[in-house]
């Protein structure tokens, strides 16, 4: 695995905490995301990974802590504003626009990042995105499905589309919540290949939450392990693999 990672952090997460009633879902989490890397976040069920994502991307307002993008504090921004400035994401449960075509799904994901609101009203409907979107569809090998309604796709294809939607706008960092979740084995390799491809060729920076260990260990440059809302450890896949605490957490978690 070639590691072409700059040391400059593009996203800086500091002391994020979030409490639901009596339950400390996320407890003082800090880490950096460096440009060009794939950062894996793992941990047993209920360790607060998705809550962390929701805090980072603005769906939840954290009790305290901050997130900086390129040195700008975006903690008070609304989710669309964060998205426009390069923080893209997917959700744990599949979230696509089922009644829109694959092509329209991708255009929707891309259009808000270019032009002004007025241009979006008065420009041609495709906003010059046709070529770009078609390229991506081609690369995801869905060209034959481009005009199909997204709801009619198979689950694996939908998952792939979901991931593609997070990446089509070329975000600074893409937060992917279980891109391999529920995808069958034949598609899995495909998903893995696409993600690596985007990372290597386009230099896309990604933070990936994943339960499929094999998948994440193969992809990630660095891995953050969470347990009970806290960061348990941080390191390369090899370090994580060999750390006894991780094993304990997983066994204890079950």
């Amino acid at each position: 695995m070639t590691k072409t990672v700059d040391n400059e952090p593009v996203v800086r997460v500091r002391n994020i905490s979030k409490r639901f009633g009596g339950n400390q879902a996320v407890d003082d989490v800090s880490f950096d995301v460096t440009k060009g890397e794939i950062l894996g976040v793992i941990g047993p069920n209920g360790c607060g990974k998705s809550t962390l994502f929701n805090c980072l991307l603005g769906q939840y307002r954290p009790d305290n802590g901050s997130i900086e993008l390129d040195g700008i504090d975006v903690s008070d921004w609304s989710p669309p504003r964060r998205a426009k400035h390069g923080l893209a994401r997917t959700f744990q449960l599949l979230q696509i626009f089922e009644t829109m075509s694959v092509r329209d799904n991708l255009k929707t994901a891309a259009q808000e990042h270019i032009g002004s609101a007025a241009r979006r009203l008065f420009m041609r409907p495709d906003m010059g995105l046709d070529g770009e979107v078609d390229d991506l569809i081609e690369r995801f090998r869905m060209a034959h499905l481009a005009d199909e309604l997204a709801g009619n796709l198979s689950y694996g294809q939908q998952k792939l589309l979901d991931t593609a939607m997070a990446l089509v706008s070329k975000p600074a960092v893409a937060f992917l919540d279980e891109p391999a979740g529920g995808v069958n084995l034949t598609m899995l390799a495909d998903v893995e290949q696409q993600i690596r491809d985007l990372n290597v060729h386009d230099g896309a920076t990604m933070v990936i939450v994943e339960h499929n260990m094999e998948f994440i260990f193969a992809l990630a440059h660095r891995i953050v392990v969470m347990a009970e809302g806290r960061v348990l450890m941080e390191g390369t896949p090899d370090e994580v693999r060999n750390d006894p605490r991780v094993v304990e957490v997983y066994l204890g978690g079950h």
């Binding site: 959700f91 255009k107 929707t108 259009q111 409907p125």
Partner: protein
Amino acid sequence: MAESVNVPQSKAADGSDALDQPDFENRRDKIAIVDRGRLSPSLIALVSMLGAAVAVMPVGRAGFDGVIGLWFLSVLLLVGVNVAVPLDTRNGQMVRWISTATFVAFMMLFPIGKSGATMTDFGLFAIFGAVVVGMNLTQGFAGQVSLAPAAFLGIGSYTSVLLDMGEEVTVAGVTVDLPDLPFLATIPIAIVVCMLLSVLIGFPALRVRGPWLAFVTLAFSLLVFLVLNNEDGLTRGSRGIRVLRNDFEIFGIDMLPTHNFYYAGLFYLFFSLTVVWWIVRSPWGRALKAIRDNSGRASSLGVDVRNYTLLGFAVGSGLAGGAGALYARQVEYIEPRSYFVNQTIDFFLATVAGGLGTLAGPLIGGSLITLVADYLRFTGDWYRVWFGLFVMVMMVVAPEGLAGSFNRFRAWVQKRVDS
């Protein structure tokens, strides 16, 4: 709300995050998006509706003679062709354009030789149709219920009439001399005033998701009624204002006679349709559709849900305001009662019955509350009883409305033909 039952909650006390909170349920609106914002074959459903209205016009209208029979036959054939030919093919494109052209031509040519009463009815159809088109943008495309279209209709009417009369008005002890503007100039002013007002009330109300806009607009429309009814110095209160269609001339054609005035309404209807069609096919429309499909996901992709929804609401209200300016001339007398909540309920039911999120749906709905209602007048108020029942049954059986049902029927037929 119901959807919240199994959903993790935002704990933000002021709720400002809530609008952007994703739906973890894979949520699909019950109101299916069947039309996809294209000029659809459901136009034909409309054309046949109008055909029916023409054929069965009550008292003093044309009987069911040979010509009307021919018209019916044409409509039936048009419907048949629309059902049979797949839209995606080149023939399908042609069918679509023929259907649209037929509708436009019908609306343009229909008045020739028709009586004044018929055209009063069709004029009202054109104006109310435009209101329902706007309401459909708010409700069908932006996914928010506005219960203020009648209030905006009223604001539009009064704005336009007061500026047109150019009299002295007194509000809260302050006397202002209003300018005497030409009628045509007051229409855009009415639109802009309504849009500004709707932004003013919509911006805070759309902070959180839920039926809040419905409640706020309901309260707003009651307040508007109170102001219209009570500000005697401004609106002359419950006595109302007699409106004259006197300074309305386009290219030297006096628009005062009922026939000519119908064309003004029709033009405004086409204008509203064009605005909505343009928005729906533009990237804006895609964003609106994405919001309706899954607002949480849309917001995470950079779609500013609040702004888009607000703009959908504002444009819808603006269209109602412009329609109000024409409505005042159509009925030639304005009084606050015409803009009470029961008028809103009519618009609302028309929007739903016609078909949410479709382009032809509002036209069908508009014809239901004007043309068809006129035909059913012999039932007294019973038709309103059936209308209420019809809406309930429709929400249960076919929530996509008449236009949507037609599309579904068409899809069903084509599936059968294919296999």
